[in-house]
Symmetry: C2
């Protein structure tokens, strides 16, 4: 624990040090060079950057800086709750409960006003309760599609994921951006055409 | 290359895929658990998050979302130019030239208006040409100090870095935040007191 006489700054620094663990939480997604699995911190950096690059495609006006903030902090709960693979139905049954406890502990390291703010921002994301949150979800779902296409089916092949399952992710992308959902749909079709993705089980 | 009929979106997606390489550019800094070196994408995520958590300590009013955007994209040039260790004086002699060429190629993947915007934002950061940029530098320099303290001298010990050298980083932190520079100074003293950092060569 790093010493600091000011309790407010001490709490903020403690949070900054604690969230370093996000760099060790692995996702199923491979890097585009297929060298290894991506971790949550890298994923969060990638989609927060996408918020600025792609904000023009949001169906409703969004504040890119606020979307980025949401995306930078949305996966922090996985330090305690772990990453749940998108196609793991069993893992999703208690995901909410695990993540709620994680949010209380992790955002709770911050000073009270920020703990409340970050918890609310995370819930807004989880509940898709605003245009910012819906666009944030579009990006969170689009990015692994790009990785799976670039790696010629990286995560899809070993997990026997088929196009009908991947297409179930489209409404979430469409919730924030019809344009990016259209692009994602075309990408899935092209992945099937190229043999990266089996059309059905 | 991912197919896309719209040249603007195609360029943006090409940029998003290209910058995935930032996840493979290693820094000298260790993760706080000492398990391995940190990469540029993780570092960028960490300091962009710090922009939101610590913005109250900026000496001049800053726009945290804009500081975060700057920090998310500031290291992308290292995909081509590589990371230059802060205490490597020889490596710094041609750093500017290498990074300028990298910026032209990498931000140049984007559509022309965004290429211009991102290049200007990167130059603003490099030149410390605004309050946002100066505060961004404070965070970029503070974060490795936290890692080196947490790892009991992680990068300092193998590179024989001494306190007089680390103190040379303080003016850069002070340029954006006297408060965070004061905290960093205390941290360096404490690192010497604990034997994590030798006082001088």
């Amino acid at each position: 624990m790093i010493p600091c006489p000011d309790p407010r700054l001490a709490a903020q620094i403690a949070f900054i040090v604690e969230i370093d663990k996000l760099k060790t939480i692995l996702r199923q997604t491979l890097l585009t060079d297929s060298s290894r699995q991506e971790n949550d911190a890298e994923h969060s950096w990638h989609i927060a950057t996408m918020a600025f690059v792609l904000d023009e495609y949001a169906d409703a006006p969004v504040e890119a800086g606020r979307v980025a903030k949401m995306l930078l902090i949305h996966d922090i709960v996985e330090i305690d709750a772990g990453d749940t693979f998108i196609h793991d139905e069993a893992g999703h049954s208690d995901k909410d409960e695990r993540e709620r406890a994680a949010a209380a502990r992790l955002y709770g390291i911050l000073p009270a006003d920020q703990a409340e703010e970050y918890t609310a921002l995370w819930r807004e994301f989880e509940d898709r309760a605003s245009d910012d949150a819906r666009f944030a979800h579009s990006l969170d779902r689009l990015q692994p599609l790009l990785h799976n296409f670039e790696t010629k089916g990286g995560t899809w092949t070993p997990h026997k994921v088929t196009a009908d399952k991947v297409e179930k992710l489209l409404p979430r992308i469409e919730g924030g951006s019809k344009r990016l959902a259209g692009y994602a749909r075309a990408l899935i079709h092209e992945a099937v055409a190229r043999g990266y993705l089996a059309p059905q089980p």
